[in-house]
């Protein structure tokens, strides 16, 4: 039953992706700046005929409706076109960069949750304690700190001053990692390459912390306030009246219900992780989608921007689907 509903939801993403495709196509065309002009800008000495030839090659001389039709037709078959600048299939470029972005986003999410869960729970249980005040002040800082600034400060302290962690990149190539999934930490674990595990974790640490700090702060605050609410509820009193131990009251009865609003917020944070990675990837020279799309936008590399944005949109829709499914496990009142 649940499987059928999930399949329905997956199928329902098709019209969503269709809409995303049209929107991103139109918005790119509305942006001032001609891709061929930008490409040729630096060279200067390009004949008008050559430029015409390029426009024709990219179908830019066709009416907008035809361009859209060509794009949708190809996209439907899984062909996202060729990058104007890099002269390679967009799909190849994305597949090359996607694992780095997933690794960073997952690293940030895991870091965020590892910090947020205990902080949120303990702050609620020990409300108004020194620890509570301290961590909520920290959370406030985490929310207000811009990622680019935090990233630079972390680099200054841990890389430049202390020399503990590398400034940029994903791994030392001397570690000799054999790629399996493209997630370097996972790959080095799978291949049992200890040197690569250490190296990839060291490279991931600062970007993940930078990107995850905001997540940690938001989730900790939400978890704390929902724990405060569930800890005051009647069913927690009943659990105590049954003779349950305090940790069971907190971790089973209160936390289980406090996770419901928290999971929603975590789902929304996935959007933040995707959006924020453009900045963090740039700061840390992380070879992911974020940097790819930023350069593509500057170059008016239409097919590459369209392809990347569609991958972002798909990831976001899928993340929300996962959250919705998790929701039905946490809250029996809700069905898909």
């Amino acid at each position: 039953m649940r499987a059928i509903k999930i399949l329905e939801r997956v199928i329902a993403t098709i019209p969503i992706m269709f809409g995303v495709a049209i929107m991103v196509f139109l918005f790119m065309r509305l942006t001032p700046g001609d891709p061929v002009d930008i490409m040729m800008g630096q060279g200067g000495a390009v004949s008008a005929g050559e430029m015409e030839r390029l426009r024709h090659e990219f179908h830019l001389d066709q009416p907008l409706s035809i361009q859209l039709w060509l794009f949708l037709k190809d996209a439907f078959r899984g062909d996202l076109g060729y990058s104007y600048v890099q002269k390679r299939p967009v799909i190849d470029l994305i597949v090359e960069r996607l694992p780095a972005t997933i690794e960073l986003a997952l690293g940030a999410l895991i870091f965020g949750l590892i910090i947020a869960m205990p902080v949120g729970i303990i702050s609620a249980v020990r409300q108004n304690s020194l620890l509570d005040r301290f961590s909520m002040a920290g959370a406030f800082l985490g929310i207000s700190m811009p990622a680019f600034w935090l990233g630079i400060i972390l680099i200054l302290v841990f890389s430049v001053r202390l020399h503990w962690l590398p400034v940029q990149g994903r791994i030392d190539h001397s570690a000799g990692l054999q790629e399996v999934t493209g997630l370097y930490v996972l790959d080095s674990l799978l291949t049992g390459n200890r040197e690569a595990v250490a190296s990839s974790l060291k490279h991931l640490a600062l970007p993940a912390v930078t990107l995850g700090a905001g997540v940690a702060a938001v989730v900790a605050r939400v978890l704390r306030s929902s724990m405060l609410e569930t800890l005051r509820s009647d069913y927690v009193t009943l659990a105590r009246a049954k003779g349950a131990s305090e940790w069971m009251v907190v971790l089973k009865h209160a936390l289980r219900n406090a996770l419901i609003p928290t999971v929603t917020v975590v789902g929304l944070q996935i959007g933040v992780l995707l959006g924020g990675n453009m900045i963090v990837e740039t700061v840390f020279g992380w070879p992911g989608l974020g940097r790819l799309v930023v350069t593509a936008i500057f170059n008016r590399d239409f097919p590459l921007v369209q392809g990347t944005v569609m991958v972002y949109a798909f990831t976001f829709v899928m993340a929300n689907l996962i959250v919705d499914v998790l929701y039905t496990y946490l809250n029996p009142k809700i069905t898909l």
């Binding site: 009647d234 009943l238 659990a239 105590r240 009246a241 049954k242 003779g243 349950a244 289980r256 809250n331």
Partner: protein, 355 residues
Amino acid sequence: MNSIQQEILLELRNLSTVYPTKRGLVRAVDGVGFSVKRGQILGIVGESGCGKSTVLLSILRLIRRPGYIDQGQIIFRGQDLRGLSSNAMRNIRGREISMIFQDPLSTLNPAFQIGQQIHESLRLHQVIDGSRSLGPLKMGQRAREKERVLEVMTEVGIPSPVDRYTAYPHQFSGGMQQRALIAIALVCEPALLLADEPTTALDVTIQAQILDLMRRINQNRGTAIILVTHDLGLAAEFCDTIAVMYAGRIVEQGPVDDVVANPQHPYTQGLLACRPRISERGQRVQPIPGNVPDLAELPPGCPFAPRCSYQRGACDEGPIPLVSTSLGNISRCLLHVDYRRQKDWKWTDRVALEA
């Protein structure tokens, strides 16, 4: 009555529970004392905010911070519960003394199946033997535990318990939810059941069924019950003895027939007078004038005095003692202390009376 029924199960002595607030210390329960014998049903009656629910939570030591039990003893089976370690106290909760609450929907955990929630009490106290067995033996224990859960569900009147075991609280009606709560309370066969307004949130017909169920449990199992209610009529029907509370104190206490037929304290009289009765048609219901006092700013004397038609100067001078009335009730009023003896009673005489 045989000797077993005479055995005192729970005795509260001079229990006070306080909550510090910005406006000072609120004595939600102030020097309350009573005893419950095995198999007995005691009713605690009073308006909302009089401290009656706090008494029940104090017995289980579940007063939420910043509130705390200030003084007194809670003697259960001969030992003072206030002296127990928190571990020992957990073994009492749910095993020896269980509690059912006013609002069943908010009291059941929305995230767990009804069966799981009943089962949890059973497993916490390892009532069913085989706790240390492993592997297949553990399976046998699980099966026996589940059997016991289904048995209790049947006993409290949940139809087709096998199907309902996996249902969630929101799929139950209010009456069924309250039955499930009672099943949670009863699954370990406690000696004492604390019931905090168990029927207030229910329809009248369901109320009757739930009370009936509780009475059956009391009779079949000999489970003693403390019923907290604002409904004196309900208490009159259901209980053996009644304690009437006002502003954190017991103002009158006695066997149900005496308290209802011959209320001694003006507050109890007032409560009885404001019950609508079909037999006396056309008579107006007489409400008690005034409001429940603010517990943070209680007068030094009788807290009921401002609303009392018998009020005299002496009522405001200092605390009023609980005294035995001629009928065998005990009541906290100057009225029956002295009234018949001397009309111009002086405060200084009180000391002698108390001794």
